[in-house]
Amino acid sequence: MSAFPAASALPLVVAVPLLGAAVLAVAGRRLPRVAADAVAVAFAGTAAAGALLAAAGWARGAGGAGGARGSAYAVQWLGGWRPGRGGGTGIAFVGDPLSLGLAALVSLLVIAVLAYSWRYFEEPPLPPGSPGTAGAAGRSGAFPALVLLFQASMSGFCLTGDLFDAFVFFELMGVVAYALTGLRVEEPRPVHGALAFGVVNSLGGYALLLGIGLLYARTGELGLAQLGRRLDHGGGPDALVLAAFVLVTAGLLVKAAAVPFHFWLPDAHAVAPTPVCLLLSGVMVELGAYGAFRVYWTVFAGSGGVPPEAATRTFLTVGVLTALLGAVMCWRQRHLKRLLAFSTVAHGGLFAVGAGVLSADGTAGTALYVLAHAGVKAALFACTGILLDRYASVDEHRLYGRARELPLVGGMFLLGGLALCGLPPFGTSLGKAIAEEAAGRQLPWLTGVFVLVSALTGGAVLRAGLRVFAGVGPRPRATAAETAGTERTHTGARNRDRGTDRHRERDPDRGRDGVDGGAERTPGDEVPETGGPLRRIPATMLLVPAALLAAALAVGLVPQLAAAAGRAGRLFAAHGPYAAAVLDGRAAHGSSPPAVGWTGTGAALGLASTALGAGLALLAVRGPLPEALDRVLGPLRRLQSGHIGDYVAWTTAGLALLAALAAPGTVLGR
């Protein structure tokens, strides 16, 4: 393989899953299920090998075709359109440690998802007589094909060095995700969640494209490196640069589910099939933040872009708001998938804060945090999926004590909760420690935000885990409406044909004006995704969360990974060297990477947030929170209305908010 430079593998990481998807779209429903799954795993695995090979090539210091030997960025000009003296016209794929690491994470997570759904996840069934099923009822075979397309889109988004190409992959990611979210059209809520997801994310995409249009008008370029360089030649920032920054950043933050663009996420995650949730929460949302910071550093971080004070103000404000709102909402949930979804919102906010302080070590810490969080969150979703498939419910109160018979799953769930709190030596703890130290240097109280948010989200998971898997504390108080619902549930849950949304409000005004709004209403029971309730938990479904947790632990324990994250942070948080490597093929010489590793303070803070989270959880299982607190939080909960018009209005408000945050120091008061 030495004749084949690592950079050449970059486009293949995207192309191989595409080939697999095309093959499966045709052959998927004609092959036996096991064969179709095996084909999918083979293609996903080949792409994963490509990503890892490229990453290893980078680690050896072989820059590849595009860059000089020893360059830290592997650059591949697609179609061989390398820029000449006047500038190029092609698209570059750029592999730096962070983008390669994320592409590898995407591929590995896709393999985990395929393994998790191996044979058991019931693909959308087709009734007898549908085309291609030869009379009998059959599978549509589309699920693994869509998962492979998802993999290709996310890998492409990581690796591309071109803003418009990033938009294309952004939209592809979206289109696949809407289809996957709404996969189970037999039920009412998935279609609604997928629609809200689709509308809000499409708007984000259009804002991004308008921003690209403005940047093109100013610079006449589309490549990230070229854009940054041209902006720097053009003098200081003006209203045009600001507008472009706001539109592009907002578009990407919609994907990252930052407040107030976040409303789609809980709606989509609560209803998407569990294997899809692993990917949505584990990596797609984080890619939104990756995109926003990638664009900031390569395009806007120079003298012609947005001044660092304005950028950091924007990212930190949005990040803190997101983290706090997500954590509070997470604590309030009893629908486990929704709970985990809000915890993803909260952690997304922490990522924005960690990278938003715009330092190399903050970025490095966030990278580690994202990596470990993907493992932990995916493992938690996998455990929740097991509950769903066995008990046809993911309601914390209704499942009280019922899962005592699953000690292994319970152990993993609680371990996941502790990892989310930031228990050393999990990678989440290491990432959090580095990121919060970097953030604390900027503003000391940001450390408190990290601790509080980790404790609340991890504590919520622990609380639910203690109730569901151990039956700790008194049985949660059930409302009258709920008891009535439970009786009807047991027979109904198995009947796939019937609507399951028993508690849906018929009267649109009742739920809105009632004191409880929507949150206290039971989320209704669920339909197992395995074609019927599971009697025995298949080994694959247990193995996947175990492996994911082990990976999250390894992120904290393998010092080479932390060192690589340090280098990744330095190369990512760099403006000039990126352009020099991509456009001139010059090796990046710069400051030495920040030292990244465990510190005493970091471990102590991790233990503190774990203790706080565990304490909160133990307090909560004793009894409900005081009524007064509920009244304070009520309005917050009502914001999450499920109404598409509301979400669009908030998205518009978010655009205005970003403009207001980024303007001082950029165009105002200069």
Partner: protein, 258 residues
């Protein structure tokens, strides 16, 4: 939020955005200006690759990855729409009634059909030379087939439209495009590199791989749009709701009003 609250929030935000955007527009280069560095380079590159249609050169050569992504979006959407609009258990399939079409409409439709098909194929084939190409021509071909629905009836359309064949064509187009890229990456200089002989400027077979990729896109778009329309037509014409009407909130057929 109440309807009024929602509108207020939106109008306030829109006001801020409108003001900011208007100020930003004043900083834009005036409409119709002469500075287009990327465009000039792209035209230069297109001519060097003997591609008369510079847009096709950008789409299928210089920025061929964008088009791969675009075709994949279409592919994913077709796959997604087929899954989302599947006939679910409990839904019946009704036979569409044969429709009576006046002789004039029928003759006009049947006369237009081959013309429209030919136009579509022409637009696909000349994509590297004249405006148009795989995408535009593909859509024309796909919609042309549906003239049969207007001229005759749904059953006539179904006879010439075995959906699984078109699904195959859709996937084959996507596969061909991607495979071209993989082959040029493994055996040639780079992913999606233009490695074929460039031919004569303005000739039908000029521009190297642009022709191949253009054909792949044409096939995928024509087949994909046929499948897409088929799934919607299927819902609108053939698939009836479960007996008893749409399921009510209780999962049981709604009782008759008394």
């Amino acid at each position: 939020m109440t309807r009024r609250g929602r509108l207020r929030l939106f109008l306030l935000a829109a006001l801020v955005l409108a003001a900011g955007y208007a100020v930003a527009c004043l900083d834009l280069p005036p409409f119709g200006g002469d500075r287009h560095p990327y465009g000039d380079r792209a035209v230069h590159a297109a001519l060097a690759r003997r591609t008369a249609n510079a847009v096709a050169s950008v789409n299928f050569d210089q920025r061929a990855m964008d088009t791969l992504g675009e075709e994949t979006i279409l592919f994913a959407a077709v796959l997604g729409a087929v899954v989302l609009l599947r006939r679910t258990a409990g839904e019946a399939r009704t036979e569409p009634e044969p429709a009576r079409v006046s002789a004039g409409v029928r003759r006009l439709g049947l006369a237009l059909l081959p013309v429209a098909l030919l136009v579509g194929l022409y637009v696909v084939a000349h994509g590297n030379v004249t405006p148009g190409g795989g995408f535009q021509g593909g859509v024309v071909v796909a919609t042309a087939l549906h003239l049969l629905y207007v001229a005759a009836d749904y059953r006539a359309l179904e006879r010439i439209r075995p959906v699984s064949r078109y699904e195959l064509g859709d996937a084959a187009g996507e596969f061909a495009y991607t495979m071209t890229g993989v082959c040029t990456a493994l055996a040639g200089p780079a992913f999606l590199a233009n490695v074929l002989p460039l031919g004569t400027f303005r000739a039908l077979a000029s521009a190297g791989t642009v022709v191949l990729l253009n054909a792949a896109v044409g096939m995928e778009v024509a087949c994909g749009v046929v499948v897409l329309l088929a799934t919607f037509l299927d819902q609108a014409v053939e698939i009836a709701d479960a007996p008893g009407g749409p399921r009510s909130a209780d999962g049981a057929p709604e009782e008759e009003p008394t």
